[in-house]
């Protein structure tokens, strides 16, 4: 004879428990796969973006070397880079004939002089010459890339006074291979920090990965999602 005293009461808790189990199980199972994106964050500067999960991050050391080779300085700058190549390399940073998208992002402090003079055109020319006057100037100085073609020139205004530009353009490398560059260049309301994100690869590659590249570029967030 079963003693009913031993049976637990099936009340509200008893009814909710199976439901909870089902929900948590489904969530748990869905979590079994790999994430869709790799999420990148500079928490201190409040800068975020994401890249497809399969893309590989370039080691900080290689990236710093590549930056130094390109004439930049990594000191006091937060920088990351991702390469969609199966054999990722920091040398793809500004190299031509990059057949898979290469992502580069950095956050840097502006000097007070630059900060005072900062304009949208300066932001456009932050990495490569985009405005006509700068391009002419650079041509005279022997800038190797030619056949500039602007595909997109948008200004961006985000919350908290963050503003900047998104530039998409093509350049042809000396070997005749043309690359498409996509840049987000933002600055904060005080214009003391510049937030930079760039993706580039060959034109064919860009056309092929336009959706992914567009997702990356639009995910670029400063302070809060744009």
């Amino acid at each position: 004879m079963t003693n009913k005293a031993f049976r637990p009461t099936r009340g509200l808790v008893g009814g909710l428990v199976p439901l909870l189990v089902v929900i948590l199980s489904s969530v748990g199972l869905s979590a079994c796969g790999a994430p869709q994106y790799t999420y990148v964050a500079d928490s201190a500067a409040g800068t975020y973006y994401k890249v497809p999960y399969g893309w590989h991050q370039i080691s900080q050391q290689s990236l710093d070397q590549a930056l130094a080779a390109a004439g930049g300085s990594g000191a006091g700058i937060w920088s990351t880079a991702f390469d969609a190549e199966s054999d990722p390399s920091a040398s793809h940073f500004l190299a031509g004939n990059v057949t898979e998208p290469f992502v580069f992002a950095e956050v840097g402090q502006l000097s007070s002089t630059v900060s005072n003079e900062l304009s949208y055109n300066m932001l456009r020319d932050f990495m490569l010459p985009v405005t006509s006057s700068t391009r002419e100037q650079e041509d005279e100085d022997g800038f190797p890339l030619t056949d500039f073609k602007s595909l997109r020139d948008e200004t961006i205004t985000a919350s908290l006074g963050v503003h900047g530009v998104r530039e998409t353009f093509q350049y042809t490398y000396p070997g005749g291979i043309s690359d498409t560059f996509d840049e987000d260049v933002l600055t904060n309301a005080d214009q003391t920090i510049v937030y930079f994100l760039m993706v580039h690869c060959t034109n064919a590659c860009y056309a092929q990965n336009e959706n992914d590249i567009n997702t990356i570029m639009t995910s670029f967030t400063v302070g809060s999602p744009t």
Binding site: M1, N3, A5, F6, R7, P8, T9, R10, V13, G14, V17, L20, V21, L24, V27, G28, S30, A31, C32, G33, A34, P35, Q36, Y37, Y39, A41, S43, Y48, Y49, K50, S219, T221, S224, P225
Partner: protein, 837 residues
């Protein structure tokens, strides 16, 4: 299933929990208990997921889940373990063999190994270590999560973090200090004190230091065996008595005995001050009790046992009459109601239970106790003092807390034991057997709560009474061994005899007083007279130094001499201890007697002798003062009447047999009352009849006393003279006067001389005349001849030849120069010559 063969009234209870041993499988777990840990882990994991989402605004829920699935793998590990655990429990619930295997082989084996390898104390310490390690690990993980670093690194940086946060913490602490800390500190301070711990080497007292209580000591020693080797009893299915109550009059060595127990065993000895549980605020007493027992448990584990001694346990109080209950007769366990306290030779044990109960109830209802024996006054303060004593100390839950601690639930203790083991599905370990011997001492056992005295709390109750004569001798020997003295064994024996209710404390005091007396006289060695002097000082107090006028002094001396003579002639069961006419605080003079041996029964002849002694003063005053008498006999008559009443009405020592006590209560009248039962008339007649019989008895005894006094008139005059001369005489001196011998103070030889007696008689007549005339006696107090003059022998002060020569008729060898001629008496002008001066 047919259960009831007979008609049953009311509902039948068919449930009931089977005993633990009858259930072979594990009790089924409620669903909530099955899932709660999994749910908790799920909640933790969700929190982690939300933390990831919070860290990066771009991350969606699913991606956060996927990311956290990689980072927070340990949650899944724990969940997996919990699932395995639950599967294990599920099998335990359904398979008896599996369950028994785990219970007996695995956990049981572990437990046995544990017990075999580690002592209780070691396991206690290991438990503490495990607890602290667990705590550190949890802190490390939590800190690691907060500061986003590995747990080990977080632990290393924890001191730095704490150091960094100290100003903030101090600030908060500062705010809290005035709000909380003052109360906490107040209670903490209040709950301190009153409990002293003595470690084994601190106590030097041994059983050999306890004198005169050998019978109790033997019983108490038994408890040492139990404390040292409890397996003696436990292996045979018994249990070790955990509590002893020592009760008895003050100064009988209860505390000393408890101390000796601690000294002999080498266990710590915790002394609880009588005032320890008197508290100002509600709860402090409870805190103290809990703190005390926490300390006791720890000491018991550490040293394998502990003794706690509650001195003056009556200060713990009781909860009043309700809890004391009627109880079964004979259940008083040494603190019985009056009905059982003086139950003669058999107590009530020979009666049937119903009769016992009826008698007990009536005894309590009527409040009538069998009368205390007049001479046993000093021992009557213990039993039957009522049950509403105490209650002043403790209170506010302290006593209840103590009761619960003494025999509360044997609950599992410790965080690991109660929480961790239970969480892992293991039963909490029962607490180890703490060897705590509770000893209590009180001189008011009736003031203790009945619940405190029940077996299981206080298992044994020993009376530490007044020491027997042998015990007193041993105690005197012990204390005299510490000082220089000249006492012989016979004198110590005598001293023990004349101090019947002496306790260890009073004996120590007496010896000390004797030493002081000797030192006052410029000596280092105690002599017999020092002891007697000290005894008189202790018993009578210092004299008031009031001088009677001569005729009154003589009257008082005659009064006391009559008492002493009749006592000497008739009271064989007692010896005269002291006779004095020195005025005290509440008496003019006195004759005190002591029992020469420990006697526990009283007889009719003895009571009769007591009455004769009491009536001697009245008879003597009437005889010696021409039928005049003083009011000083009032207390004597009161005593005589009381004893006579009890003899007649209670003890069956009169002309009738029935008990007046019962007759009055049951309204059945009294023999000789003549009336029918009931009604005021019969009661009145009964009382008249009883009073008449008492008066008749007293009158006849008064006549007998007069006869004795008339036959011994010269001895009365002799003792009165000795009293007037020396004021205070010891029993030996009184005997010396009556027997014409040499006493410690008085030489009784002259009182055997008729001529000297004639002088005394003449002096008496002069004093009696002065009494009538309210004038000065015409004759001075005669002076006995010095000892050396008697028999012409130069005695050494105590020489026996002097005694031998005084044969009562004054015809000893040598000149008989007793006293001085009446008229030319060279007595001092103050009229109080001292023959030995």
């Amino acid at each position: 299933m047919k259960k009831a063969q007979r008609p049953v009234q009311g509902l039948i209870y068919e449930g009931g929990r089977p005993r633990e041993g009858e259930i072979l499988t594990r009790r089924p777990l409620p669903l909530w208990d099955r899932l709660r840990w999994l749910l908790l882990l799920a909640v933790i994991w969700l929190l982690l997921v939300f933390t990831v989402m919070g860290d990066n605004p771009l991350i969606g829920f699913l991606d956060a889940c996927r990311i956290e699935a990689r980072v927070g793998w340990w949650v899944f590990v724990l969940a997996g373990l919990e699932v395995v655990h639950q599967v294990h429990l599920l099998i335990c619930e359904h398979s008896a063999a599996y369950n028994q295997f785990w219970l007996n082989k695995v956990w049981g084996g572990l437990e046995r190994t544990n017990h075999r390898r580690f002592s209780d104390w070691t396991r206690f310490r290991l438990g503490r270590v495990f607890f602290w390690v667990l705590l550190v690990v949890v802190v490390a993980i939590v800190t690691g999560k907060i500061i986003h670093s590995p747990p080990a690194l977080a632990l290393a940086s924890l001191p730095g973090i704490i150091w960094h946060e100290i100003p903030f913490v101090l600030q908060i602490a500062f705010y809290l200090f005035f709000v909380v800390a003052q109360f906490a500190l107040l209670f903490w301070f209040l709950s301190r004190g009153g409990v002293d711990v003595y470690y084994p080497d601190d106590i030097k007292t041994r059983f050999s230091d306890v004198w005169g209580q050998d019978h109790v000591l033997e019983r108490v020693k038994e408890n040492i065996i139990f404390l040292e080797n409890p397996e003696v009893v436990e292996d045979r299915g018994g249990y070790v008595p955990g509590g002893i109550l020592l009760w008895g009059p003050p100064g009988t060595g209860k505390t000393l005995m408890a101390e000796a127990v601690a000294g002999e065993t080498g266990k710590p000895y915790v002394f609880v001050d009588p005032g320890a549980f008197i508290n100002m605020f509600f709860g402090v007493g409870v805190l103290k009790v809990k703190g005390l027992f926490r300390k006791l448990r720890k000491l018991a584990l550490r040293y394998g046992g502990v003794i706690v001694f509650f001195d003056e346990a009556d200060s713990l109080g009781n909860r009043g009459m309700v809890t004391q209950g009627g109880g079964a007769p004979g259940g008083g366990r040494g603190t019985a109601t009056p009905a059982f306290s003086r139950a003669g030779c058999h107590g009530f044990s020979y009666l049937s239970a119903d009769t016992q109960w009826m008698l007990a109830r009536e005894a309590m209802a009527s409040g009538l106790a069998e009368p205390a024996e007049p001479e046993a006054g000093r021992s009557k303060q213990i039993i039957g003092a009522g049950m509403n004593g105490g209650g002043m100390g403790g209170g506010m839950g302290t006593l209840q807390a103590l009761l619960a601690e003494l025999s509360g639930l044997k609950k599992p203790r410790g965080f690991v034991n109660r929480v961790i083991r239970r969480a892992l599905g293991m039963r909490p370990k029962p607490p180890p057997k703490y060897r705590i011997l509770v000893m209590m001492a009180t001189n008011m056992p009736s003031a203790l709560d009945e619940a405190l005295l029940r077996p299981g709390r206080i298992d044994r109750i020993y009376k530490v009474g007044y020491p027997s004569k042998a015990g007193r001798i041993r105690t005197y020997e012990g204390y005299f061994a510490k000082v220089q003295h000249e006492l012989t064994e016979e004198q110590i024996d005598k001293l023990a005899t004349i101090t019947p209710y002496a306790t260890g404390a009073t004996i120590k005091d007496l010896v000390n007083e004797a030493l002081i007396t000797a030192i006052r006289d410029g000596r280092d060695v105690i002599t017999w007279p020092d002891v007697l002097k000290a005894k008189q000082l202790k018993e009578l107090g210092p004299p008031e130094d009031v001088e009677y006028i001569e005729r009154e002094r003589h009257a008082v001396a005659i009064h006391e001499a009559c008492h002493a003579l009749v006592a000497y002639r008739t009271r064989q069961h007692m010896e005269i201890d002291i006779a004095t006419i020195e005025k005290g605080s509440d008496y003019l003079g006195m004759v005190a007697s002591v029992k020469p041996e420990d006697q526990f029964t009283r007889w009719r002849s003895e009571y009769q002798a007591d009455i004769l002694v009491s009536l001697a003063s009245l008879a003597g005053e009437r005889m010696f003062f021409d039928s005049d008498s003083s009011s000083g006999v009032s207390s004597d008559l009161e005593q005589a009447t009381t004893v006579a009443s009890y003899m007649e009405g209670f003890w069956g020592m009169g002309t009738t047999v029935s008990s007046y006590s019962s007759a009055r209560r049951l309204e059945v009248g009294s023999p000789g009352g003549g009336g029918r039962p009931g009604g005021e008339d019969s009661s009145m007649r009964a009382r008249h009849a009883l009073a008449d019989r008492i008066e008749d008895n007293l009158s006849s005894l008064l006549g007998l006393t007069e006869t004795i006094l008339r036959d011994n008139e010269r001895h009365v005059l002799a003792l009165a003279h000795a009293l007037e001369t020396h004021k205070t005489l010891s029993g030996e001196d009184v005997t010396a006067v009556f027997e014409h011998q040499r006493g410690p103070l008085v030489n009784g030889a002259p009182y055997g001389d008729d001529e000297f007696i004639a002088q005394l008689r003449a002096y008496h007549h002069a004093a009696a005349h002065a009494h009538r005339e309210h004038s000065q006696p015409q004759l001075p107090l005669p002076v006995a001849a010095p000892a050396w003059a008697i028999g012409g022998v130069i005695a050494d002060g105590y020489g026996s030849p002097a005694i031998g020569s005084s044969n009562g008729d004054g015809s000893g060898s040598g000149p008989t120069v007793y006293g001085q001629p009446p008229s030319p008496a060279p007595s001092p002008p103050d009229g109080s010559p001292d023959g030995r001066a």
